[in-house]
């Protein structure tokens, strides 16, 4: 109890929830460490990142690469079903080969992880950067600016970003590097929530004494933004960023599944799942491997995000139970791409 109280009275804790401007990093880390599921998720994420970074190494260890066709390993009589059980898994091809082409599944999966993780991370960075800038502009600008920005924010949040992302893929020159394009498209279409959160925080922070003091002391508006407000935004923005990651992983997989993501022969999980639709009966292993990997990745990021949220703001749940939390705005829930 006494511990909870100290946490509750951490210096600078803002009334609406974000951990304060200078929240104790050790304390946050200690709380995160005490959360067993968050630590497990962190371990999974670390493993995924390592595997993706070491993709060439993993492939070399297996002695395979993601693009070579192995026609001898598929049965041409059945249209290309891998020969042997579990998708043709063997000592040479540890997780089997791709139906139709005979390409190595393990190599494609680990190289696919590179795309998945780099695109989702890049997209999150773009979202956060745009969201913070636009949110700051809305919160610190005049009334007209705030109204215009807030309205476009509503629109960006409500608009099904997948629709626009798919449509945009039709008009970008084919020479543009696809992973970068995916990052930009997912990022540019997804800044709305971050901007809304930042704007709300800025409006509250603006009225706090230490910010007024800086203003009265003669600091210019953007100096106040940079020196006083920006540091205080770290906690909510980090929380939101980590929660956004799994959605971006799913978004990239969805776009690749729809055939507008990275171009073959670059492997991606969504693409593998999309081609797997033709091999349900003949080669279930080929469906299950990328499916499980995608699910585990998204779940690990989600659990980690929840853990970070709780660690940065441990009182949110009890506040909710006590009914002090403000009624959430309707669109605070995150969009689920259908």
């Amino acid at each position: 109890m006494s511990k909870a109280l100290t946490a509750a009275q951490a210096p600078g804790t803002t009334p609406q929830g974000g951990a304060g401007p200078r929240a104790d990093r050790n304390q946050v880390w200690r709380r995160l460490r005490a959360d067993r599921s968050a630590i497990a998720a962190l371990a999974v994420v670390a493993l995924l990142v390592l595997t993706a970074a070491a993709a060439p190494l993993v492939a070399a260890l297996e002695g395979q690469d993601p693009t070579t066709y192995h026609n001898a390993l598929i049965d041409s009589a059945t249209g290309g079903v891998p020969i042997g059980p579990f998708g043709g898994a063997s000592a040479v091809h540890w997780l089997g080969v791709e139906p139709g082409t005979g390409r190595d599944v393990l190599a494609r999966l680990v190289y696919g992880a590179q795309i998945s993780l780099s695109v989702s991370l890049g997209a999150t960075v773009v979202q956060i950067a745009l969201g913070v800038l636009i949110g700051l502009a809305a919160g610190l600008g005049n009334r007209l600016a705030d109204t215009v920005i807030s309205r476009s924010m509503d629109l960006v949040i409500a608009f099904p970003s997948l629709v626009f992302a798919v449509a945009l893929m039709a008009v970008v020159p084919s020479g543009f590097p696809r992973p970068l394009l995916l990052m930009l498209v997912i990022g540019v279409l997804g800044w709305g929530q971050t901007a809304r959160i930042v704007r709300g925080q800025v409006l509250t922070l603006r009225g706090l004494d230490y910010v007024s003091a800086a203003r009265l002391a003669g600091s210019r508006r953007w100096r106040v933004a940079r020196r006083e407000i920006l540091p205080a935004l770290a906690a909510p923005v980090i929380t939101y960023g980590v929660l956004q990651l799994p959605l971006n992983v799913a978004q990239e997989a969805g776009l690749s599944f729809l055939g507008v993501g990275v171009r073959p022969p670059t492997p991606s999980w969504g693409q593998m799942l999309s081609s797997a639709t033709n091999w349900f009966q003949a080669d279930p292993a080929y469906v299950l491997l990328p499916a499980v990997l995608l699910f585990v990745t998204v779940l690990a990021f989600t659990v980690l995000g929840e853990g970070v949220r709780t660690a940065l703001d441990p009182r949110a749940e009890s506040r909710l139970r006590a009914g002090i939390e403000r009624r959430r705005k309707k669109t605070d829930a995150q969009e689920v791409p259908a």
Partner: protein
């Protein structure tokens, strides 16, 4: 009330106008020349100029956009001298690749998304609100922990993954049912429902997770309000308090969330349609993107946006109607 509706209509129209201009500009800036795509391979200079003139893409962009807007009200005629194509009002554009008005291509596919959305909606509401209600009532118990975990997993699963797995399980492995193909309700209602069961559940399972969370947190907020404390003081049972008094208020944010989700999915459930091979608005967009059929891309995007903007207005209206604390002014 009337003032609210009027104001909302005007602002909705303004938003739609801005959106259409943005969408139109983005696609005009595209490096693809629609005339080249329509004209096909081996098209020479003069023929290309004729096609370009017919499509109206030889005009400056604002005139093209003006023609597009005028077409919505008055219809359009694409005329190259000897070859005339009429597109009756309201003309959302004309796809020369498929030789159909865009609006017709869209309206043909609306029943698919309507069927998908309405059925899934019933399931995700029951599932989501039920789960949220249960975890709010059993807070602190094992049931709540289990439900929270399940909800997190549900939020983490992309819909096409669920779709693929149910297809693999029920249609390929167990063979309990054939692979779904869309059948129109007017043709055979029983077949319509049978074919939609899997898509409905896949979509609902994924979406309901957000509803479970929202219901739970909203119910917990409501339970802390003063009028509930009064009820407690009168000695009402927890069950009666929740079901009779708290739930109604707690569902207000769920209602607005519902309006927005329905608006989004009506505009095209690309992933669900693609997994199950249903020819709805989402697939129309994906196909036209792959074939670079720009008029259809613009039309389908605008149509999806149209549903979303309407849904947002509906959400605000519902919010105000359901919660007396919110004024309509």
């Amino acid at each position: 009330m009337i003032r609210f509706l009027l104001r909302r209509t005007v602002s909705t129209a303004a938003v739609l106008l801005v959106m259409s201009a943005v969408v139109y500009l983005v696609f005009y800036a595209a490096p693809h020349d629609p005339a080249v795509l329509v004209c096909g391979k081996g098209c020479d200079g003069t023929r290309l100029a004729v096609v370009r003139h017919k499509l109206g893409t030889d005009l400056p962009v604002w005139e093209q956009y003006g023609n597009f807007l005028r077409g919505l009200v008055a219809g359009r005629t694409f005329d190259s001298g000897n070859d005339v194509t009429r597109c009756a009002a309201p003309c959302l554009g004309y796809s020369f690749q498929t030789d159909q008005p865009v609006l017709q291509m869209i309206t043909q596919r609306i029943p698919v998304d309507l069927s998908l959305t309405l059925g899934a909606m019933v399931i995700w509401l029951l599932l989501g609100v039920g789960t949220g209600l249960l975890s709010a009532l059993r807070r602190g118990r094992l049931v709540e922990r289990a439900l929270t975990t399940l909800t997190l997993a549900g939020m983490a699963t992309p819909v096409f993954l669920v779709g693929l797995l149910v297809l693999m399980l029920f249609c390929a492995s167990l063979q309990w049912m054939p692979f779904p193909t869309y059948t129109a309700f007017t043709d055979d209602p029983a077949q319509w429902a049978a074919n939609l069961v899997l898509p409905w559940f896949s979509l609902a399972l994924v979406i309901s997770a957000a509803y479970a969370r929202m219901t739970r947190s909203s119910l917990l907020e409501t339970l802390a309000e003063d009028h509930i404390r009064t009820n407690r003081a009168y000695g009402l049972s927890e069950r009666r308090i929740v079901l009779g008094h708290a739930l109604r208020g707690a569902l207000v944010p769920v209602l607005t969330m519902l309006a927005i989700d329905v608006g989004q999915i009506l505009g095209g459930a690309m992933l669900t349609e693609s997994v199950f091979g249903f020819d709805g608005l989402g697939r129309l967009l994906v196909t036209s993107v792959n074939q670079i059929d720009l008029p259809v891309v613009v039309g389908a995007t605008l149509f999806a946006g149209f549903f979303v903007v309407i849904a947002n207005a509906a959400a605000d209206l519902l919010y105000a109607l359901a919660d007396p604390r919110v004024s309509l002014a």
